[in-house]
Amino acid sequence: MSSITTPHASMDLVASVLHQDRRSMARLISVVENRWPGWLDAMQALYAHAGKARLVGITGAAGAGKSCLTAALALALHARGRRVAVIAIDPSSPITGGAVLGDRVRMNKLAEAGVYIRSLATRGAMGGLCQAACDVARILDAAGYELILIETVGVGQDEVDIMGLAHTVLVLCTPGQGDGVQAIKAGLMEIGDLMVINKADLPGADQVAADLQQMLHTRSVAMQRDCPVLRTTATSSEGTNELAEAVLAHAASTPKVDQKRVRFRNELLRLLDAAIEDRLMQEPVLADFNPYTVFQTWFSPALQKL
């Protein structure tokens, strides 16, 4: 049930989020995304309550059908009684800082089913994944969602960041992307847990599947783990039940060993990077632009104490 009177203070929002209040959750996401007063206290407090959700990253080149597939997959999981939420990320313009967040427009049926969808802009983050995505995933996790689908920007090889965040990574491709699966660069092939050929009704699907199986064979032998190749037609929901089962099966399997460590490291580095950049913004003139001097003054003493 959504509380009409939304608390304002960040710690009150945290309390409401833990009681699964949807409006408070939406508001806390804004507080944290915008770094409004109390955001850090809130995230510190929430951390202990997160860690139960499975994060599913959905990547692939633009036009592969990520939004449609994310929606169809979420619906299938929702139909199985799972508490699922969606984070849809789109790029911010590096020049103007604005963004058109156009993923949820393909997810109308999902929204009608009452599933929570949040759109995020990258706001200048490199690598297609922003710290906000990690923060929002954590908030949704603490709010009790079992499965959080994260639809990434879709820039291809730069998407390896998602591996540090998601437990299960879906890599999407489509038939006819030229020369088999050239669109899937080496990086993506290595991080995928499930390969999905979307728009599988188009000609060339068999060839793509064969190419993928061949490329994955070497990897499977090395990593002693199979990577299933699935086919879907997201617009008609064909293959999405099988995909949902595959995602749940992967979620039930043991998580990647160094997941937590990698995630922690990446998040800490991003937090530090943002804090330093904010601090640099405020410094009108750095006397001689000597990075060694600044590092010495700002960090050496603190680092020695760690």
């Binding site: 304002h8 949807r22 409004w36 007063p37 313009s93 020049i95 963004a99 058109v100």
Partner: protein, 159 residues
């Protein structure tokens, strides 16, 4: 050289605007004329805003749900048919019922002066009929979003 220029732009841009107005842009009912909405979405993006594009076939309920879930500052409705006259009152009622702090603006060439007056009386915060400039649209939306975000920020600090 180009990469350097872009990097510097990001550096400056962050300093200039951490304030990101968040606006939903969409159409009501069976109004099909999406071209205007798409154009305005691009315009607002170019002005540094985050546009949640809601496309066609929205109802007052769906707009309210998006506004609540995305915690949007403004609901922008592109109007090229009769739907806004019929459904805006219901939209405003739902917003009041749910105590959502969100402004509603209407834009489109079919909105007459008398329609505008009627809509404003009911609580619509902005109306952009034929002849309005891009600058005016951007500036009014920015004001509405800034006022709302300031309200929310202030509430966070007053505890």
């Amino acid at each position: 050289m180009h990469a350097l220029t872009v990097k510097l732009t990001i550096f400056d841009q962050k300093k200039v605007s951490m304030f990101k107005p968040k606006i939903i842009v969409g159409l009501l009912g069976i109004d099909q004329h999406e071209v205007g909405a798409v154009a305005v979405a691009g315009l607002l993006r170019d002005a540094g805003m985050e546009v949640i594009y809601a496309g066609r076939y929205n109802t007052p309920e769906s707009f309210v749900r998006i506004a609540a879930d995305e915690d949007a500052d403004v609901i922008g409705i592109s109007c090229h048919s009769w739907e806004y006259i019929e459904y805006t009152p219901e939209l405003l009622t739902l917003i009041a019922r749910d105590k959502l702090d969100v402004a509603v603006i209407l834009g489109g060439s079919v909105i007459t002066a008398s329609d505008e007056a009627a809509m404003r009386r009911q609580g619509v915060a902005g109306v952009f009929g034929p002849g309005v400039s891009a600058e005016q649209i951007v500036s009014e939306i920015r004001s509405l979003a800034e006022a709302r975000q300031n309200r929310l920020r202030t509430a966070l600090q007053n505890v």
